[in-house]
């Protein structure tokens, strides 16, 4: 009898993986703090994922002076501490290698840092794609428009995009 059951376990395991990933996002949704980021979207098309826009945030490029570790040559996992400006938009105020302490309005995002132009670092947070309904990406793409993106940030550094609106 025992031999007949193992394959059900295999299915359950795969279902749990899917549910686990979903739960981690829903947890970020639920426990996260709303922050607003500024961006400019452009649209390449992706064969695999249907239609999406690529988002370029202001927080993708940061001054290397915010990073206190050794100079970055290869992709390095980092934590970016973000604080709100007077206009309510979040900007990176510090980049660290260890999990930072954040107070009050501050949040931190996990990211990957790579070298950029002289004096700058390029940070990627996994928030740079926004999937849209088929073929509506073009509307978001209209040139030189800036957008603000609301992101829920969980206390463990994970961000989930909530919505995207024109800035002006």
């Amino acid at each position: 009898m025992k031999k007949n059951k193992w394959w059900i376990g295999l299915i359950v395991l795969q279902v749990l993986v899917l549910l686990g990933i979903a739960a981690s996002y829903y947890a970020a949704d639920h426990y996260g703090k709303d922050i607003v980021l500024k961006t400019k979207p452009v649209d390449p098309s992706d064969v695999f994922y249907g239609d999406y826009v690529t988002l370029n945030y202001e927080i993708n490029e940061v001054s290397s002076s915010l990073w206190n570790g050794k100079s970055i040559e290869d992709p390095t996992p980092v934590y970016a501490v973000l604080s709100p400006d007077n206009d309510g938009l979040y900007r990176v105020t510090k980049v660290t290698g260890d999990r930072p302490d954040v107070k009050g309005q501050q949040v931190y995002l996990k990211g990957k840092a790579t070298p950029s132009m002289e004096g700058f670092l390029h940070l990627e947070y996994g928030l740079e794609r926004y999937y849209v309904k088929d073929n509506t990406g073009k509307q978001l793409e209209s040139p030189h428009r800036e957008y603000k993106v609301t992101v829920k940030v969980a206390s463990w550094g994970k961000g989930v995009i909530q919505r995207i609106q024109p800035l002006n």
Binding site: I21, Y25, D46, G50, G126, L127
Partner: protein
């Protein structure tokens, strides 16, 4: 070979008195009507591929009406149904259909992963999704075998590597290991010729991609290839010949590239640290030679070994141009030796490869040397004539050799 061909040809053999009617029947009975059955057996496989593609594109095209949570629940239901159907079919002794359903289950699992990324607008910047996806694929391959499951795992791992590399410039070692060990284990046990060739081509591809991520140090590729060659000689008999084929092919292309780069002064190359390169290279080369000596196939390695020699380290002595020319000569020698050896052994396929490679080398050498100082119309004209002449000469030689050796075993 198809049954129809045998039935038709066999009759003429009887008429020509080569075999008797009795022998003709015996030969036919040795090849039962297995091929046409195999053809029909492929239909469920194709059907499952179509359904799998259907599911993937269904997910990818953002079905708007349904909330993400329900989409996930729906996918989980689909996944469970496919896997269950697969297990039921396998248990009832229908492996082809059973594996096809399992394959659909694997496709649904991947669709679920992609859907989640899409729903939450998440980019992973690496091959993570594909790694997770490949785990059940490899597990089911291990449990139920079968070509279909092999190709699914192959596609997920190779597609994942290519996707992560082209999209995010991120090479995944985990995928390389899963491919080399997960699939390597399977093909070395399966003894299926098609699978060993696919696996070998894939493995060389994954390693070439890795070498490309090293940028200035891409010439480590030579060490990687010779390592693979050694592994092929030492590890597994089933894999030795396809791995030899593809590593040699990659080394051949590398030699031609080096010839091209080194003889064009505008491009200057960076080389890997000679100390480490030298040590590892010599160790691996020695390993290959000792393995080959044991097998007594040393002479055939002589020509292949030509392609693996790091002449680029001698540019300080002989200059870049000369080193480039040495690479050209090596490529010529290799294809020439391949051809002569083919003529001696009267092996048609080796002769054909020799001809093709010889023509390629000639043409590339011609383009590189003549392009800059010849009028273009003359360049094309002479190039065409040169190729034609060589082609006819080599084909004629091939016919002569193959026809002379009347009772050659390779003659078809």
């Amino acid at each position: 070979m198809s049954d129809k061909w045998l039935i038709k040809e066999g009759k003429t053999w009887v008429q020509d008195g080569i075999i008797t009617e009795e022998q003709y029947k015996q030969i036919l009975s040795k090849y039962p009507d297995g091929h046409s059955k195999q053809g029909i057996g492929l239909i469920p496989v194709f059907a499952s591929i179509l359904i799998g593609l259907g599911i993937l594109s269904f997910i990818a095209s953002n079905w708007d009406g349904i909330s993400p949570l329900y989409r996930l629940v729906l996918l989980i239901a689909v996944l469970s149904v496919f896997y269950t159907a697969g297990h039921v079919r396998l248990k009832k002794g229908n492996p082809v259909l059973g594996r096809a359903f399992i394959a659909l289950g694997i496709a649904s699992f991947g669709a679920g992963l992609i859907l989640l990324g899409q729903t939450f607008h998440f980019v992973s910047y690496d091959a993570r999704t594909f790694i997770i996806w490949s785990v059940p694929a490899l597990l089911y391959l291990y449990l139920f075998r079968g070509k279909l499951l092999f190709f699914i795992s192959f596609a997920i791992l190779t597609g994942g590597q290519l996707y992560a590399l082209s999209e995010f410039s991120s090479y995944s070692y985990v995928i390389l290991i899963l491919f080399a060990i997960g699939l390597g284990w399977f093909v070395s046990a399966s003894k299926d010729k098609l699978l060993t060739w696919f696996f070998s081509a894939g493995l060389v591809l994954h390693l070439v991609l890795y070498a490309l991520t090293l940028e200035d140090n891409w010439l480590w590729l030579i060490v990687i290839l010779i390592g693979l060659y050694a592994a092929a000689e030492g590890l597994n008999q089933n894999l030795a010949s396809p791995l030899r084929f593809f590593t040699t092919g990659a080394a051949f292309i590398t030699s031609l590239l080096l010839y091209f780069f080194l003889t064009n002064t505008a491009s200057s190359l960076d080389y890997p640290d000679p100390l480490w390169f030298g040590i590892i290279y010599i160790l691996l080369f020695a390993a290959v030679i000792s393995l080959i000596m044991k097998k007594g196939t040393f002479s055939s390695f002589l020509k292949t070994g030509l392609l693996f020699f790091p002449w680029f380290y001698f540019t300080f002595l002989i200059g870049e141009f000369t080193a480039g020319i040495i690479y050209l000569i090596s490529a010529f020698l290799f294809s020439g030796l391949l051809l002569t050896e083919g003529y001696q052994k009267e092996e048609r396929s080796q002769i054909n490869w020799g001809i093709i490679l010889f023509l390629i080398v000639t043409f590339i050498a011609y383009i590189n040397l003549a392009w800059s100082f010849m009028p273009k119309s003359l360049f094309f004209l002479i190039g065409g004539i040169l190729l034609f002449a060589l082609y006819f000469f080599l084909q004629k030689k091939k016919r002569d050799v193959l026809e002379e050796g009347g009772d050659s075993h390779e003659k078809k």
